[in-house]
């Protein structure tokens, strides 16, 4: 068990999501930074889809009620265990009674806490993710609150973790060749023109050339962007149609909305572009007020990035196991 000692609003249990039910109006949910979840779970020896805690409002703290392997990923801040500073993206062993504390990260939006054995949460429609709008999944369909106690699954690899912990080179560093760093604080997000891009004519070009800011009216459902409004050349009425995370819609006000993890399942606004799936985690880590620029991408580039990420994830999974086994053999 773990006990939540302190939590801000909207911190939830998430995994990699609940695909396959949009046709009945159920959004996929899942972590806003799925790459951090996959790597965190690999570090602690879990299946990459095991349930974790997504922390997006800080401070957050929990107490371990038994000896537990854990890792904090996604964040650029330093977690603390009983007051001692740890490094992020590193698996550690917590002893019974120890307290893990996460403070506001310096730049990024979200942190993920993985525990060996995963959070023992009932699976609802193929996922342990919390659907806040549906009020189901995760921690009884609601955000975590002080006093909540969550069961932890059996950790079959607990004896494998080296005493000093085991860390990973985080994606932003290991994959810097495929994920360009922000330029002057402006995050580049790759996207592909979508179905109604042609309706925007010159304003379509303005969409790609201007710098957008993430508005305060943003959440796990969608990021609303502030900037010079863009409008279509003609007003059209569209029937509501399916949308997925990454789709960028333009409502009548002209300021785009990017659908995120709790994306609506359908909508009628024209779609100007779609963020490539491999860049969604970077958007998920961008905070309100952050500036971003959309970079026109191609299917070939999106596929190349996807393959680079897959190689990295696979290398972490295989090498972490190999290092643990080698150290165990020499212990």
């Amino acid at each position: 068990m773990i006990e939540i000692l302190e939590s801000g609003l909207f911190n939830t249990v998430q995994d990699l999501g609940r695909p396959g039910y949009r046709d009945i109006g159920v959004s996929a949910s899942g972590a806003m930074d799925p790459l951090a979840v996959r790597i965190g779970n690999s570090l602690v020896g879990n299946d990459e889809n095991a349930a974790v805690i997504e922390v997006q409002t800080f401070p957050f703290s929990l107490r371990f009620e038994r000896r537990t392997v854990f890792a904090v990923t996604g964040t650029d801040g330093h977690p603390h265990l009983d007051g001692s500073e740890l490094i992020p993206w590193c698996a550690y062993m917590a002893e019974l009674g120890q307290v893990l504390e996460l403070k506001q990260p310096p730049r990024l939006a979200r942190a993920y806490i993985s525990v060996g054995g995963g959070l023992d949460i009932p699976v609802v429609m193929g996922s342990r993710s919390t659907s806040l709008r549906g009020g189901f999944g995760g921690n009884a369909g609601r955000p975590l609150a002080k006093g909540d106690r969550i069961a932890v699954g059996e950790d079959l690899e607990i004896a494998m973790l080296p005493a000093t912990g085991l860390a990973v080179i985080e994606p932003a560093v290991a994959l810097r060749e495929v994920f360009p760093a922000p330029v002057d604080g402006v995050l580049p997000i790759r996207a592909l023109p979508a179905g109604e891009h042609g309706l925007f004519a010159g304003d379509g070009e303005a969409f790609w050339s201007q710098i957008w800011r993430i508005s305060s009216r943003s959440d796990r459902t969608g990021y609303r962007l502030s900037g010079e409004p863009i409008t279509p050349t003609a007003t059209i009425e569209m029937r509501s149609h399916g949308v997925v995370p990454g789709v960028i819609q333009v409502p009548p006000g002209g300021e785009p909305i990017v659908q995120m993890s709790d994306a609506n399942t359908a909508g009628g606004y024209p779609k100007i572009a779609g963020v490539i799936e491999c860049d969604l985690w970077r958007l998920g880590q961008a905070r309100i007020g952050a500036r971003l620029k959309f970079v026109r991408s191609t299917h070939a580039e999106a596929r190349a990035v996807e393959q680079a990420v897959a190689r990295y994830v696979e290398d972490v999974r295989l090498t972490s196991g190999m290092v643990k086994r080698a150290l165990k053999a020499m212990a």
Binding site: C90, A167, I169, V316, L327, M330
Partner: protein, 141 residues
């Protein structure tokens, strides 16, 4: 890859156990600075000839942190801006002095002793072997 320190009893014990487990009768290694021969007796107990390695200049108040695994030695976390370590500097036993990097994995190297970090014994980003000396820590007297 740098050489293993055969003057370390723990290294000899590890090699002996590994030879026994593998059913190998013995091992002999010669280097310019000395040689070591480990012979596993028929009863399963090892007979070890004392290595004739050149004794290292040692300070009884200093300890050496050695590589627990083969890999690339990182004096800093690869994600941090490179800043040269100022030496000597005071450290506590829980401090992370560096990492062994294997692929994208990083094995933190804890000091294990409080004292003064006096020397880096391996070049950053070089490949090191199991048991290679990495840091020297002067213990408080």
């Amino acid at each position: 890859m740098s050489a293993i320190d055969f003057g370390d009893p723990a290294t000899i014990a590890f090699l002996t156990d590994a030879l026994t487990a593998a059913g190998v009768e013995g091992l002999e290694i010669s280097r310019p600075d000395g040689q070591i021969r480990i012979v596993i007796s028929g009863e399963g107990a090892a007979r070890i000839s004392v290595p004739a390695a050149t004794p290292r200049a040692s300070d009884s108040a200093a300890v050496v942190v050695k590589a627990p695994l083969a890999g690339h030695f990182c004096a800093e976390h690869p994600g941090t801006a490179v800043a040269p370590q100022t030496l000597p500097r005071s450290i506590s036993d829980a401090d992370v002095l560096g990492f062994i990097r294997v692929g994208h994995m990083l094995l933190p190297l804890r000091a294990g002793h409080s004292g003064v970090l006096t020397r880096l014994l391996a070049e950053p980003d070089t490949l090191v072997g199991f048991g290679d000396p990495l840091f020297e820590i002067e213990l408080p007297s």
